[in-house]
């Protein structure tokens, strides 16, 4: 029988992998992909707590995930539009070369 802790460990590892991706990759699109991975790890946590927590019939965890998926879709669309706008201006998506605000 699987337990809550197993799911939490999987989600912790997934979050760590997403964080590593967001920190190491220099392409703005792949940084967004890392952020998506972290969001998914959070969703997995919500569902695991819903499934193993008290009062599953109230559907609180599921509601959180429904809204979080909706917001993630909006976030991805806005983020990618920003990347396109930045690419028009700098002709690159390399985050190291967008250094106009650097002091």
């Amino acid at each position: 029988m699987t337990t809550l802790n197993q799911y939490l460990i999987v989600s912790a590892l997934l979050f760590a992998v997403g964080l590593a991706g967001a920190l190491t990759r220099r392409n703005a699109i792949l940084v967004l992909v890392g952020i998506e991975l972290m969001l998914n790890a959070a969703n997995l946590n919500f569902i695991a707590f819903w499934r193993f927590g008290p009062n599953p019939e109230l559907l609180r965890g599921v509601m959180f995930v429904v809204f979080s998926i909706g917001i993630a879709a909006a976030e991805a669309a806005v983020g990618l539009a920003l990347i396109i706008a930045v690419y028009r201006h700098y002709k690159t998506t390399d985050l190291n070369r967008m250094d106009t605000l650097k002091g």
Binding site: L30, L32, N40, V65
Partner: protein, 170 residues
């Protein structure tokens, strides 16, 4: 028994494809990363099914694999990312990434090890035969206001995206 096997299979495949999204030793092409992200999402939907969240597994595949990743692929193909393929991850970057993975995982693991095996007040297996009908009821009764706010947010995001990707803002 079979559930344990399926859990380990799905968990392992989720993590493996997530690692391949971030650091693929064979290909540095962003399209490959996006494809492995699709795999991650699919195996994660398997984990959701294991947790009895069938509706969310379907939504995960439809929204993430069907819409979000396609958007990523469109943008990757719109932009000319030839230089990314020849780029290697720097030494500092990979060390930083590994350290961050290690630190975050140790932190989470320490937090989890103090946890009791069962959540207090847990009733065990949820007695929901179909999740979708009660979910719809709750969404349109108890959670109606947040639902409407989310729809306005999506509209705002849509207008914002069109504005941001226009050539001239005037």
């Amino acid at each position: 028994m079979i559930q344990d096997v399926l859990f380990y299979l799905f968990a392992f495949m989720t993590l493996l494809s997530a690692v391949l999204v971030v650091a693929n030793p064979v290909s540095r092409n962003p399209v490959t990363s996006a494809m492995f992200l699709v795999l991650t999402i699919l195996f994660m939907a398997g984990l959701f099914v294991q947790l009895h969240a069938f509706f969310l597994a379907a939504v995960q595949i439809l929204v993430y694999a069907g819409a979000v990743i396609v958007l990523f692929l469109f943008v990757i193909m719109l932009l000319d990312l030839k230089e990314e393929q020849s780029r290697r991850i720097g030494k500092l970057g990979s060390v930083l990434g590994l350290v961050s993975v290690g630190v975050v995982f140790v932190l989470f693991n320490r937090a989890l090890s103090g946890l009791p095996a069962k959540v207090p007040g847990a009733t065990g297996q949820p007695s929901l035969e179909g999740l979708t009908a009660p979910l719809g009821h709750a969404l349109f009764k108890q959670y109606l206001l947040p639902f409407e706010i989310l729809s306005v947010l999506l509209l705002v995001a849509m207008v914002g995206v069109i504005l941001l990707s226009k050539k001239d803002l005037r």
